[in-house]
């Protein structure tokens, strides 16, 4: 037992000497997370705001100007251009100079005055379906409240029924998508770093022949694998600390949950990514293959974690598949810990998932590795 610890100690020491000797790698390891969280923190947002809007007002009446004003004051739209005819509308949309065009017909004010119904048209660039959907909803809201105002003015004195929704948004009242995305960026970062580093670790030793040299020593598989994993656990926590500091201090993401839980779940999650990395390194023959395999796994892992696309929106089969994705669980845990401050009890599924998948990956790696040595 003591001897095992001593041997593992030597392996860890060796990994650290190697890691710190490669200055370039070291720089990447510590500067990369800062840059990534900083840049992606700004870049990755699903908020739709300042969509460039063109207006084609055929009516030019006080009433039509009022509607245009209402659009101008909405944060979703940014009135960029006043149009002068159908050709210009078409061109501007085709060239992507505007994302939406509001068309107010001639006779808008006159017909409203006569209590007749009027259509206003909104043309949307639907290439980005998500953004146009949001724009569509906002535009409809603006037009509806405008028409409600018209109705009120017409029926002054008459009592009107009034149904108004009172919406309370919990946990992230200002609906700042950054608060939701940045913890996700940290998760992705951690996954990438740890899977890739362990994935390459054993393969590099196989390429240089040192793995064979280790195989003729009395070292045990468990000792070797632990010696390969533990250094990365330490490095991973260091990187996590840096990334979280940026996330809390710079972006002011609130952390409402327990730090202890975060650390525990991170450990549990690392068991998964490191296991996956090890598994890759027992399958891959060259470092190139290892990088390829890790990328293949990561793309699935990230896209099917709920990072960008809610899992509930996926087809049922895909939803079921995500249960095999450790990122899915950790992503949920981190986001809920940050924004909701949820306790242990709300993470039962996540705990189970991570506790099953991690050890399975580790066990498979150990089994495969044992076979290779013979």
């Amino acid at each position: 037992m003591l001897k095992s610890l001593r041997i593992i100690g030597h392996l860890i020491r060796k990994e650290f000497i190697q890691a710190f000797r490669d200055h370039q790698m070291l720089g990447m390891m510590f500067i990369m997370p800062v840059i990534q969280v900083l840049l992606l923190g700004y870049a990755i947002t699903v908020d739709v705001r300042d969509l460039s809007l063109g207006v084609m007002d055929y009516d030019r009446s006080p009433e039509s100007r009022q509607l245009v004003e209402d659009f101008r004051h909405n944060e979703t739209f940014d009135l960029d251009r006043v149009m002068s005819g159908p050709d210009e509308i078409r061109d501007a949309l085709d060239r992507g100079e505007v994302a939406a065009v509001l068309v107010i017909p001639r006779g808008f004010a006159r017909r409203l005055g006569r209590n007749e119904s009027v259509d206003v048209q909104l043309l949307l660039d639907g290439v980005d379906s998500n953004a146009s959907l949001i724009a569509f909803n906002h535009a409809r809201g603006i037009v509806e409240s405008y028409s409600l105002d018209v109705l009120r003015k017409t029926l002054v004195g008459t009592p009107l029924p009034d149904l108004r929704p009172r919406i309370h948004v919990l946990y992230n009242p200002e609906l700042i998508s950054r608060f939701y995305m940045i913890p996700g960026v940290v998760v992705v970062l951690l996954t990438m770093l740890t899977t890739l580093m362990t994935g390459l670790g054993l393969v590099r030793e196989r390429e240089t022949g040192t793995l064979e040299q280790l195989s003729v020593t009395p070292i045990r598989t468990v000792e070797l694998l632990l010696g390969k994993i533990l250094p990365f656990v330490l490095i991973a926590f260091f990187v996590l600390a840096i990334a979280l500091t940026v996330c809390l201090v710079w972006f002011g993401v609130p952390m409402r949950g327990s730090w202890t839980l975060l650390v525990l779940f991170s450990l549990l999650f690392l068991l998964n990514t490191l296991g996956m990395g090890l598994l890759v390194s027992t399958v891959a023959h060259t470092q190139q293959q290892a990088v390829f395999m890790v990328w293949f796994l990561l793309i699935f892992g990230i896209l099917m974690s709920g990072f960008f696309f809610p899992i509930e929106n996926m087809p049922l089969l895909m939803q079921r598949l995500t249960y095999l994705n450790p990122l899915r669980y950790f992503m949920a845990v981190v986001r809920e810990l940050f924004l909701k401050g949820s306790g242990m009890m709300s993470f039962r599924v996540e705990t189970m998932g991570l506790m099953i998948l991690g050890p399975v990956a580790m066990a498979l790696a150990a089994l495969r590795f044992r076979k290779r040595a013979r």
Binding site: L11, D22, R374
Partner: protein, 249 residues
Amino acid sequence: MTPPETIAIETRELTRTFRRFIAVDSVSLQVRKGEIFGLLGANGAGKTTTIRMLTGLLKPSRGEAWVAGIPVHSSPEKVKHRLGYMSQRFSLYEDLTVAENLTFFGGVYGLRRPDLRRRKEALLDLFDLKDMADRITSSLPTGHRQRLALASALVHEPPLLFLDEPTGGIDPVARRTFWRVISDLASAGVTVMVTTHYMDEAEYCHRLGIMRDGRIVAVGSPDELRNTHQVATMEEVFLNVAGTGEDAS
């Protein structure tokens, strides 16, 4: 049945196949304690595969292999602390220093700190690497790398040493020094099994086994082999029994 104590290595009908290809074919041989035994043969004759089976890196398909009284064919792990192994690749951690490599391999063999320090000093001395102790391994010339690889294989003072083409790519002077060290080790009781295809190196061996197509085709001391084949040089012996010998220099 366990071989007698004077026998360091014994194989019985040792065989290894890769799919249909028979790499090593029913090899039976005995190596005495303190002997330098050379495996001679062209590339692909099965020398490396034999050594890999004896060191527990590869499982035999058939047959038995006893190393230091331990049945390697059934319990390959048990023999590992008793043997040193150096491959033709001089597998070292290129980004560690000379001293760090020795510390690491010693540590992996479970050496305690005082022993580790003592062995490191002794090996740096023996292999004349003292001035290079803090050099990064990748910056060493090939001859020094080979010495360090051998030092790393000896750090735990193994009674058996397996060398797989240990002198590839190093100059004649370095080779002579190398063989002097090997002879000294053998005099001190270390059993050495070495593969080579350099004929002049065959002379350093006490006994030789010449391999061809996975089989041992001749065994004996260099003198015995020359006498039985009635030739003047090992090269001729080799050409006689090992076929073309194209790859042998």
